[in-house]
Symmetry: C2
Subunit: 621 residues, 2 copies
Amino acid sequence: MAVYTIEFQPLGRRGRCRDGQSITDCARGLSIGINYICGGVGTCQSCKVRVTGGTVSAPTSSEMDAFSPEELEAGWRLACQTHPLSDCTVTVPAESMTTPQRTQVEGLEIATEPEPPVRAYDLQLKAPSLSDQQADADRLLAALRRQHQVHCRRVDIDVLRALSQQIRSRDWQCQVSVRDDEVVAVGERAARQLGLAVDLGTTKIAGYLVDLDTGNTLAARGMMNPQIECGEDVVTRISYITGSPDGGPRLQVLAVEALNQLAGELTAEVGESSEAILEAVVVGNTASHHFLLGLPVTQLVAAPFIPAVGHALDIKARDIGLRIAPGAYVHLLPNIAGFVGADHVAMLLATGVWQEEGPIVALDIGTNTEVSLVCNGRITAVSCASGPAFEGGHIRDGMRAAAGAIERLRIVADSSPGGLVQWQTVDDAPPVGICGSGVLDALAQLYLNGIVTREGRMVSDHPLVRGDGRQREFVLAGGEERSGRHAVGITQQDIRELQLAKAAIRTGIQALLDNNDCAEEDIRKVVIAGAFGSYIDVSSAMDIGMLPSLPRERFWQVGNAAGAGARLALVSTRRREEARTVASRVEYLELASSPNFMQTFTEATYLGRYRLRHGSRQEIV
Amino acid sequence: MAVYTIEFQPLGRRGRCRDGQSITDCARGLSIGINYICGGVGTCQSCKVRVTGGTVSAPTSSEMDAFSPEELEAGWRLACQTHPLSDCTVTVPAESMTTPQRTQVEGLEIATEPEPPVRAYDLQLKAPSLSDQQADADRLLAALRRQHQVHCRRVDIDVLRALSQQIRSRDWQCQVSVRDDEVVAVGERAARQLGLAVDLGTTKIAGYLVDLDTGNTLAARGMMNPQIECGEDVVTRISYITGSPDGGPRLQVLAVEALNQLAGELTAEVGESSEAILEAVVVGNTASHHFLLGLPVTQLVAAPFIPAVGHALDIKARDIGLRIAPGAYVHLLPNIAGFVGADHVAMLLATGVWQEEGPIVALDIGTNTEVSLVCNGRITAVSCASGPAFEGGHIRDGMRAAAGAIERLRIVADSSPGGLVQWQTVDDAPPVGICGSGVLDALAQLYLNGIVTREGRMVSDHPLVRGDGRQREFVLAGGEERSGRHAVGITQQDIRELQLAKAAIRTGIQALLDNNDCAEEDIRKVVIAGAFGSYIDVSSAMDIGMLPSLPRERFWQVGNAAGAGARLALVSTRRREEARTVASRVEYLELASSPNFMQTFTEATYLGRYRLRHGSRQEIV
């Protein structure tokens, strides 16, 4: 019997596949979690992969349904329907993976030539004597000049405080870490120089421990942002600050202590302590950036929405309470506007789209969604108040993507009355709620199956619909009330929330297109960044009119690109310069004052696939 | 009757003098405190002045006694014996003034072309709007570029924290203070920019509030160094640190809180607050410098006596707890060695002697006495452990120069048995003790009157000598026990302490001369800096062999030259560069390991006037 080797990208895993097995079979054998909602019968279309090398079986009828001829031509297949006929390379997009696997994908490395801001030098000092009484710091700087031709003028005060004891206890041997013309750390000779990159999100904080000399990520870790105790979104947190004199300091401390915890945990993973971190880069939205630095925010939320600072900052870590190497700095990438922050800059930097010709749409979906359009060398950006619906907020059974959250959902034709609802939960746990990607799938499926109209009204005459008014609900799971569990459903009110959220995003994209006099269909690429954006089924997003309807291959779900951008900036001063260029080139458009704003927004609340242009909507037949 | 105008320098005061009045009469009329020990009869020779303009009466016999023909030729006179015959200019050396007046002299300004490290710019910002959403800090920097052609890249984080509110509350007008490429303060438009210069002495701290743009001293203030609670001298304080884990932090806090208090008091004098201070310069001996910065000191007191840092430092004031303008820096001049600190550099800078050809001896007398010799373009320095005797320490009736301290003393021929002891006390209060300058006078007078031998033994057969052994004592005042006050005297043990102290200084001077193969008599100038050095009678110092015997006009008592150097460095970046040059050019000699050290020291314990050279002593006849 023939056995083939299948290589799964971007995970970089290889496995053996016996003749007759499907790609899904092979993947499951390797514990690669490819979606499997319908149990492998080809109906849920949630296991889309792209075969980029080798020969596979001919498309089945399920696959002919799932893909256009162009997509099939480009290698798009359903993993459960496809049987390798030779060694193959298979690319699995994030959306086709189950949650734990997607988390791995988020760790994708974007290679860059390291040009670290901090460099280490080994020194052997001559011990002083009565005939050579040069001061310790001066001796160190002279040795740097003589032994390494490095002309350094300053030694950080905290480094100075420890220096005399350090060099004496190490018999006058040491490693010196230099940043610009300043010594920021002195210690024992270490094999590697550590840096910390942080994506400080409103809800989640992602931290990466990076080898500054190689650019390799040594450890990665996420945690909830503890500032949630002061409000779920930035506007609530700003109200918390304006309402209490201790509010600002409280938010500052919560943020920095979270970073201290992350630094401690990440370094512990590699057997080091936080003090070994020689440089940090933090990106976040403008408000989170301001919270972390203790900058004023009241002017951020009142027109004309002005950040305290836009340009990139280099701040002594101790000045914000970050406990890493004594003299280390934290670098903050530039902010673009009050609601387009350094995280967006980092995303543009990591994806590189800012240097392309376009038209390219790049967006990071969250409570606040930032969108940029790269078009003919011009970059314009807007910020859309998309609200917390996609993070499970304001949705009756909404929850984060934790165990038991419905993350994928299909309604398939079946003998059941009204069809069968198939779902997949995080960790395959019994369903207890629905997370953002599940909500998106649900709305798309309800619309496609005629249970919700294009205006967003839920029909009353469907077997799985119950209740009335805003409480009218479509039961997704648990309706049979077996095992006493509460049913999980989508309500009419949930749908209204989702319509507002997705309309905000679509309006933002449209405002940029209109401003650049660019048509939707000309968009060459749509970059979707951020945790939520990586999880969504792009087809569902198009089906509900959240994203313009475009060929599937034009979408690029990049995971936590802000974190990737932070890592690039961490290890490369040239990338920091690039980030400055990016930020200075982006023109911010105030969405609310763009032409046809209300008109576009109203049209964008419609479900289904349609084209928008200058405030008018045209159905795609 | 003729009336003349007399100008007193360096006080810059003018007064009218009637025909027949003495210079002393005129001075007292102006409340200028010229010494007056003998009541104006010309016997105490303590009112030496120099007439530098105008015509005065012919020298009296007292003046012929007091001065050499060359000195008289140069204008030296006794103020009580001299009657102006025209408008005159009279220079009063510090040694001829009473204590309160000398304190004023210490405020002497040494003019420099201000090149302040911090410059202020007035800005009128354009208010932001929905069509102009530039961030506050970026707007500020852009306005600096546009309105003043100042290219500034950074805004201090603490300035950033206050900026948004500041510019909004001031209707977008503000004054920006720039240091190098950083904004260190933003505030309302101020008429002047303030700086703080501090001479951080072991015993006393002198603070000066300076206008950075003009270089003028606006206020000056002295205070006791509160670190005295941890030890009277630096060695005791270092023991305090090594003996307690909280010792270092305690000394650091004491020092910086003293500076904070000084800053508060000085700025209050001119109607400002400490936050208006935009830059500080601190000079002190190496140990005090290290205490203030929280640097380690154990390596300072053990051979080979190494400072943690020698080069000049620019440190954020907040990093040492100094509460001045939010982003302000404190600049610390370079240290030369473990026991020759930035205060000595400041003194060399202020006096300018480092640029002269020499031979010049420059010394700052204190518990530790630093001496430099400038000779043929070479500068060598030593440090002498002179002890606290000159500050009243280890002297039975010793005290600081406070009210009631005997500060000047003469023994004059009289019908009293053994002569009459004449003295002057600080503030003319009843005598309660004796301060450094009084101790020096006392020893000289005892030696000159044969009551103490050149070996330092007090004779037993003098009417005013009583007691025996090390307790043998010469009663200076209060011996009659009227009004129940304790007698003030000098004991045999006091004399031994003084011999060791003065021998240490003379040995230091001699080691430098020997090292440069230079003879004492070739010294062109002796610069005596520091509080004590300004108060001493130089003739007394020569009579006890503390200083080489040289013509009176070669001595220059410069008061607190370290404070003057700190002020120069405060207002001029060029002077800071000069200080770096000075520090790098000074060669430090370890006194204890210099040739003939013990021999020279032994010879230098002798009283009287003599020449030393390579360890041998030759009396001056």
